[in-house]
């Protein structure tokens, strides 16, 4: 049997006191599913019924929340950490290495974002294609842009299949509403799993992207028009000055 091809990200957190913590994230290159090792023990807060998300579509036969399980190891490592702790975070992928001096919450939100969207949660799996083009430490505008680009790519692929695409991005806003319900549910779980705010705030950062996307679609996208002038003015080229 052919061996699975993997996409791997290695996250290293180097703190000002010299301590370091590393995490490897492996995804199936084809399906973008998280490839995980079996956990030795599953904490109580990872059970599906423990503060289950309001919109969870999983049946009662599922014992553990797949997203909570995927986060358990990381959460345990940072359960006593403060969100604004300074860290140098290095992210190595096959193509490149990212290094940034940032806050722990920002570094954690990047890796938690991968874990959550690839964890087999039916709601969060809509975000999975974005992980193929993972951009650690992205600011809000970069994330909005990647998110919209990813969604429009999906719509184009639907069009090519003869299906009806959603060009006005209403579906994307609906997806983020659902995703944010899960993000909120996850912060409720994390309140029971942590002593300080680093893990929770990392998820709150992800939630804030979902909160801002509607406004960005309605107002922020228009601000990008000058950048796309070469496309928008194609049929109305500016008058020759000479």
């Amino acid at each position: 049997m052919a061996e699975k091809k993997l996409i791997q990200y290695r996250y290293r957190f180097l703190f000002e006191d010299g301590t370091e913590k590393s995490f490897n994230v492996a995804l199936d290159e084809e399906t973008l599913e998280l490839v995980t090792e079996e956990l030795k023990e599953s904490p109580e807060w990872t059970k599906l019924k423990f503060s289950q998300c309001e919109n969870c579509p999983l049946s009662d036969s599922v014992e553990y929340c797949p997203t909570a399980l995927s986060l358990a190891g990381l959460v345990r490592e940072f359960k006593d950490s403060v969100s604004y702790t300074s860290a140098q975070v290095t992210v190595e992928s096959r193509e490149r290495t990212f290094v940034k001096k940032t806050t722990l919450q920002k570094g954690l939100s990047a890796i938690i974002g991968i874990y959550m969207s690839t964890s087999n949660c039916p709601v969060l799996s809509m975000m999975r294609p974005m992980t193929r083009f993972h951009l650690p430490f992205a600011n809000s505008f970069e994330t909005f842009y990647r998110s919209i680009s990813s969604y429009l790519t999906a719509q184009f692929l639907l069009l090519r299949r003869g299906e009806t695409p959603d060009w006005d991005l209403k579906g994307l806003q609906d997806i983020y509403k659902q995703v944010n319900t899960v993000n909120k549910g996850m912060t409720a779980r994390l309140h029971r799993a942590t002593e300080k705010d680093a893990n929770i705030n990392a998820v709150v950062i992800l939630h804030s992207f979902g909160d801002g996307i509607s406004y960005f679609i309605e107002s922020g996208l228009s601000d990008l028009e000058p950048m796309f002038g070469v496309f928008l003015n194609k049929n109305h080229p500016p008058q020759d000055k000479f």
Binding site: T143, K196, I205, Y215
Partner: protein
């Protein structure tokens, strides 16, 4: 003019999403990256309310709140935190925060609380104005005529027995002052009755109406 809100959080994405949400709800919004930046921003331009993250580097949200309450008592504060902690919540409320919300914050709830906060603040200001107007009424429209009557009574006691003309003049003056006072007090009594009835719909609008009525009474007209 829209109410001005200052969002203080060390995380860019949270500042931006709160700014987006509050702007679309009709508020004027500015942002600050930490406590020191917040104090600078307030110095440059006061805000009706601040949304203040508790866990921030350099100056914590609680330290920032303490300074804001001392230097900008007109600015209300709502505290935001990722990690809910009962004792911290109590501490914030004791220092003077009006609310304590756990992130991620529900937009509708936040907007409702902010609107209620700035509305009650406006009402408070308007009621203070009613109070000032009322004190002015007592001093100028009640105590002054009363003093005039007392002075006349004193003068009457000192007049010689044959000074009938002066006595009549003084009594006429006293009578006029008493009539003015009586008329104003009657209007005030009626006003107090109506104000009590109107207080069921209390708020900034009602308070502003009371101020206008009081001003009308003081000018001597009916209300």
């Amino acid at each position: 003019m829209n109410e001005r809100i200052l969002v203080v959080d060390d995380e860019e994405s949270l500042r931006l999403s709160l700014k987006f949400k509050l702007k679309s709800a009709g508020f004027d919004v500015d942002v600050a990256v930490d406590g020191e930046d917040a104090l600078e921003k307030l110095k440059a331009k006061p805000a009706d309310a601040v949304l203040l993250d508790i866990n921030m580097p350099r100056m914590s949200g609680i330290e920032t709140l303490t300074i804001i309450r001392q230097q900008y008592p007109q600015t209300e504060a709502i505290m935001l935190t990722g990690f809910a902690d009962f004792s911290t919540a109590i501490e914030c409320l004791k220092i003077g925060a009006k609310d304590y919300l756990v992130k991620p914050v529900d937009t509708t709830e936040l907007v409702t609380r902010l609107r209620s906060l700035v509305r009650s603040r406006s009402t408070e200001r308007a009621l203070q104005e009613v109070h000032q107007e009322y004190l002015g009424f007592l001093a100028e429209d009640v105590l002054e005529p009363l003093k005039k009557i007392q002075t006349v009574l004193d003068q009457l006691g000192k007049l010689p027995a044959d000074a009938e003309k002066e006595r009549k003049k003084a009594l006429t003056g006293a009578r006029e002052a008493a009539d003015v006072m009586e008329a104003k007090l009657k209007v005030l009594a009626q006003f107090a009755k109506e104000a009590a009835e109107a207080s069921e719909g209390s708020g900034e609008g009602s308070a502003m109406h009371l101020i206008e009525q009081l001003k009308g009474i003081r000018k001597g007209g009916d209300h």
